[in-house]
């Protein structure tokens, strides 16, 4: 099957998913207790202002009409404006996305640097202390509450040792050094969690390929063990791990909510939490919608990567 057709097929499934996502997000606003117009008006109690909001958002219209108008605006890139700052939500999203993206890239780099070698090593030395240690570390990475790990690292490296800044964010074009030092701790916090998942999957996939016939053949041909592990076994084991990496990256883009909160990083997560506390529903809807869109898109990327990396898919699917 051609790659183009495969992507087209996947995109067709994507449209109804995104449609239902938008319906869910829009319905959430309808669940708001009380009059949505009063909630949207925020602290303004002026009846005229509330009336204007009701007319602007067509709150006196039936649900379907309201949804139609809303999704029409969203599709044109208009997510409304923040109640607090009166800044268009689109601008807020555009300014926060690069920060979250940078954090996600660093976290992923740390996750790969720890997770892949640990997974390969523990599968190669199955049952030895190396394997046990790697498993224990991976399990710890999966079990530790990341926001607490963040707090503990701040306590150690910022409060006690004074080596790294406790929180904040500086854009790379202003001060690259400070940018990197502020992102080191949060990336490590996020990266360790993903590293645990990566390690376990890499280990599982490696154990499978190390038992495969072609690996036995390679060994029988007296290919050096190093090459057997790194070339024959690892190459094939990495196929499912690539897919996982793309999905985990999608999770990182939106899963950094608490980490951004603790380290005061002005990204998507902080925007969401601030939106929640300010009852800034347009912001919350915008963040959730864009996060879901990115997540779905990265899942598509994962499928495409899987398709590209696995020659068998191209022949049979």
């Amino acid at each position: 099957m051609k790659l183009g057709r495969y992507i087209a097929q996947r995109l067709v499934v994507l449209v109804p998913t995104l449609f239902f996502v938008s319906v869910l997000i829009f319905t959430l606003q309808q669940l708001l207790p009380g009059d949505a117009a009063i909630a949207l008006a925020g602290e303004e109690n002026d009846p005229a202002a509330i009336q204007a909001i009701r007319a602007k958002y067509a709150l006196d219209q039936p649900f379907v009409v309201q949804y139609g108008l809303w999704i029409g605006r969203v599709l044109r890139g208009d997510f409304g404006e923040s109640l607090r700052s009166r800044i268009p939500v689109r601008e807020l999203l555009a300014s926060k996305l690069p920060v979250t993206l940078e954090l996600a890239v660093f976290s992923m780099a740390i996750a790969l640097a720890i997770g892949l070698p640990a997974g390969v090593l523990s599968a190669t030395y199955r049952g030895t202390p190396v394997d046990v240690t790697a498993n224990l570390v991976a399990l710890s990475g999966l079990s530790v509450p990341h926001f607490w790990l963040g707090i503990m690292l701040i306590l150690l490296f910022a409060v006690q040792l004074g080596w790294l800044p406790a929180s904040g964010y500086v854009p790379p074009w202003e001060d690259l050094r400070r940018n990197l030092t502020t992102l080191l701790l949060p990336s490590f916090v996020l990266g360790t969690g993903v590293a645990g998942v990566m390690m376990r999957h890499t280990r599982g996939a490696m154990l499978q390929t190390l038992n495969a016939d072609y690996v036995r053949t390679a060994r029988a041909k007296s290919v050096p063990e190093r090459l057997v592990v790194l070339k024959h076994a690892m190459r094939n084991a990495l196929i499912p791990v690539i897919t996982l990496g793309a999905i985990e990256f999608g999770r990182l883009l939106s899963g950094a909510v608490l980490t951004e909160q603790i380290f005061a990083i002005p990204g998507f997560g902080k925007l969401l939490v601030d939106g929640v506390f300010n009852r800034d529903y347009a912001v919350v809807q915008g963040v959730v919608l864009v996060s879901a869109g990115l997540y779905v898109l990265l899942n598509l990327v994962a499928d495409v990567l899987y398709f590209l990396a696995n020659p068998r898919m191209r022949g049979s699917a």
Binding site: F20, L24, V144, P145, W148, G255, V276
Partner: protein
């Protein structure tokens, strides 16, 4: 007679295997010690009133943010409450927050999964599209958004986490139904004239238990972290009631003066979640035939 034997065979086998599975889980040293840790947490949560040395809500302004001492083994917090006592009572909130959302997710996903997998057609299509949409929004974001819309409280946080966990369970339940549906024993039960309901309850349901049990054990751990996260953000347990997450929230402001306030709640979350994950691995290994 023959019919009853054939129809009941799988269920009997499932029942006969159950004690065996528990024994198989507990035979692993790691899983056994994890089970002991989990049981210890449950015992402490139940006996909180007897275990806690102080009233978890009693403030003492003469002992504000005191470091660990013989009087207060784990120190005191920002209004002089005993940290150990609050941790002991906080175990209740955390364990409830682990179990209740999973129960909600199971209660909704099993019947809906059966319906979706069994009925097929547009019902299946609709349920699955909504599930896909929910899966597209990351777990914690769903939980935060729902908790925010429902209003901050422990009960609402648990409902929000339950709903956020639902799509994973639903997809798993439906997938399992689809697999089991084509098994020979289900077809023979149907050929023998069993009603759709009887096939669903007597033959499909018992075989849905292993995958759902594995998923539940993972989700209890995830739900405990989610509750702590929501409480940390102020969307879960409300002060002054103790919860490990809200204790961490308060602790963050006194990090340099009173680090013990931040250390212990996190360690406990870490311990219980680690134990649950090890136990979950043990259950998976014991139930999954491919692992043996």
């Amino acid at each position: 007679m023959t019919r009853a034997v054939a129809a009941g065979a799988t269920a009997d086998i499932a029942e006969a295997h159950r004690p065996h599975v528990v024994r198989r889980v507990l035979r692993r040293p790691a899983a056994l010690s994890a089970a002991v840790v989990v049981l210890a947490f449950i015992a402490i949560a139940i006996a909180a009133a007897y275990v806690a040395p102080y009233d978890p809500l009693a403030t003492d302004y003469r002992a504000v943010r005191k470091a660990p001492s013989p009087a207060h083994v784990l120190g005191t917090d920002e209004v002089g409450r005993d940290v150990l006592s609050r941790l002991v009572w906080g175990a209740r909130a955390s364990l409830l927050a682990g179990v209740v959302p999973v129960t909600i997710a199971l209660a909704v996903s099993v019947p809906l999964g059966l319906l979706s997998g069994y009925a097929g057609g547009w019902i299946d299509g609709l349920i699955m599209r909504i599930t896909d949409a929910m899966l597209a929004i990351p777990f914690l974001i769903v939980a935060i958004a729902l908790a925010a819309f429902l209003g901050p409280s422990l009960v609402n946080a648990m409902i929000a986490i339950g709903i956020a966990a639902l799509p994973t369970f639903l997809r798993l339940a439906r997938g399992t139904v689809l697999t089991i549906k084509t098994e020979e024993y289900v077809e023979s039960a149907r050929a023998l004239g069993c009603s759709a309901l009887r096939v669903a309850v007597r033959h499909i349901l018992p075989n849905m238990v292993p995958p759902l049990l594995i998923q539940s054990s993972i989700t209890v751990a995830a739900a405990i972290i989610a509750e702590a996260s929501l409480s940390f953000l102020g969307l879960g347990q409300q002060p002054p009631a103790p919860s490990w997450g809200s204790m961490l929230n308060a602790a963050q402001r006194y990090l340099s003066q009173a680090p013990w306030m931040a250390l212990y709640p996190g360690l406990l979350i870490f311990a219980i979640v680690m134990a649950l994950n090890v136990l979950g691995d043990g259950v998976r290994d014991a139930l999954d035939p491919t692992q043996q």
